[in-house]
Symmetry: C2
Subunit: 323 residues, 2 copies
């Protein structure tokens, strides 16, 4: 068996702690999958004393996460701190500039610094892996980059925000109002105290930006997307749709047009037999239309510690197999 892949892990929030737990508790199975042991050699997080239900005593604690990449013996860096700027961004830069692979779930950072980070990735031959940044557990980045790599994509659309989908599908099923269901989602922790990013469509727009860059053109930006959220959807709208054999979902769509791309996030009426109409609760879904494959749909959990850890682990194993 090859030598271990030694990781520097930055961020031990819900996702970071789950990734650490999976790596430590399932090390034998992961070593078989990766063809070599996967080891957390160093970690960095705000509070070293917090109980995270995972034994990290074998890892070195590093005060400044930006230093992780420069430590001797670190083969790759896993960035799970979040935040588009600050420490996460500086860690990404230091990782790539030392020629080490960067594994990140940080959608905001990628959206804000895409060109710069991928230029560095190319210059220093340091891969950026970001399966966890879009649609949680659904391996849509791998499917776009590899599984459908021989296709010309003409359209990509999906339900990219679990909070909006939970609200709309609950309103549809129960007849309760937007405000009522949102308040419940906030109480249960499915929605943020400030729900703007979710319910006004911006989270879906950020994810569509990344999918659009991969599917069509790296120059796609969030600013090009026409964004409408779901605040104005009423139970009467959903009832009317249902009478016509339809439901309403917040759909993010990027589509090839005669002159460039049509990019939008908006509530859409979908026939009940449409694959996206069957996606309820906090699930995510992505439908890809392409030649020669025609249409493929992926459905799965779009958020949460377990699904996001699944995506991070797949990226780590990919790196372990390749470098």
């Amino acid at each position: 068996m090859k030598s271990p892949l030694r990781l520097g892990l930055a961020g031990l929030g819900t996702v970071g702690a789950e990734v650490a737990r999976q790596i430590i508790e399932h090390q034998d199975m992961l070593a078989v999958q990766a063809g070599r042991p996967i080891v957390i050699a160093a970690v960095s997080a705000r509070d070293p004393k917090k109980n995270r239900n995972v034994d990290l005593s074998a890892a070195a604690w590093v005060e400044d996460p930006v230093q992780l990449a420069m430590r001797p013996g670190i083969d790759a860096v896993v960035e799970l701190m979040g935040g588009a700027k600050g420490a996460a961004y500086h860690l990404a830069q230091s990782t790539l500039s030392t020629g080490k692979p960067l594994i990140t779930a940080n959608k905001g950072m990628l959206a804000a610094h895409w060109n710069e980070l991928f230029d560095m990735s190319a210059r220093y031959s340091a891969p950026i892996m970001f399966e966890a940044s879009v649609c949680g557990g659904i391996p849509v980045i791998k499917v776009l980059r590899e599984g459908l790599s021989g296709n010309r994509i003409t359209r990509i659309e999906g339900i990219l925000n679990g909070t909006c989908n939970y609200i709309l599908s609950t309103m549809d099923a129960t007849g309760r109002s937007f405000a009522d269901v949102l308040a419940e989602a906030q109480a249960k922790g499915y929605a943020e105290a400030d729900p703007t990013l979710d319910v006004d469509g911006w989270d879906a727009a950020h994810k569509l930006t990344i999918l659009g860059k991969l599917a069509f053109d790296a120059s796609v930006t969030t600013e090009q997307i026409a964004v409408t959220g779901i605040r104005s959807i009423t139970t009467a709208d959903l009832k009317g749709a249902r009478e016509d054999g339809m439901t309403i979902r917040l759909v993010a769509r990027a589509e090839k047009a005669p002159h460039g791309l049509n990019l939008r996030v908006s509530p859409m009426h979908l026939p009940l037999e449409h694959p996206l109409a069957a996606v309820t609760g906090a699930m995510n879904a992505v439908t890809i239309k392409a030649e020669p494959v025609d249409v493929c749909t992926l459905i799965g959990p779009g958020a949460g510690a377990g699904p996001t850890a699944s995506a991070v682990l797949a990226d780590i194993i990919d790196i372990a197999r390749k470098i």
Copy 2:
């Protein structure tokens, strides 16, 4: 740019000709995806004179396909002849034993010779790529091998046979009999003149064997699967199911049990809100339950020249990127 990947292509039926057409007509786009040109250097097929709507004049014609792998300058072999034994099997052996990657859509050959071929693959460090062997355009092999590689899979189930799904969903939608819909499917070319392999569940069982080997254990064999087909399903069954809010689908399922695996292919009642219930016509779908990702579903075209070519092209590009 790196040197071209030079392919030997065996078999120019519907799928083989479509793969050749895609490689020749979209060579610039494929070269960008692969990081190097992809070239069909040699082909072998029964009738060199048949019009296949593709210009293969730049490729060498080889009488005996088994010789393709041994030709100087061939980097990888694409086997699209079909047949579990005979030329396809001998070509697979000669390809792997010369240390060259084998790309195949040949489910029957893999099912019959799995251990031997993968032993050769390991001994000669020659990868076997077989995305096109199961579920056509759905990249389920890549998702199992890579996209969900950090998971412990507990269940994999799906609609793996498009002919059965077309028959059942058409019976359900129109109230027509099994015999009537089967006759129509045969007339349209969706079903074989001898439909046994499809309607008795054996095609789904062969695919489940491959998925089960990947998801659980290479020792899974078709003989271990309890197989029931759809011949006995009546319109009254479907009507009764619908009255209970259900539909009937031929479901292939492999599930971890306290002692080994439960493996079966059989018609199942599914609630209409079940993700597999929404899969109509000749589509395929696979649902994977695993820890930590929870549940992911992939839906797409399970057969046809375009979808199968998509899978073959993805494997070719993977090889071009890696070797």
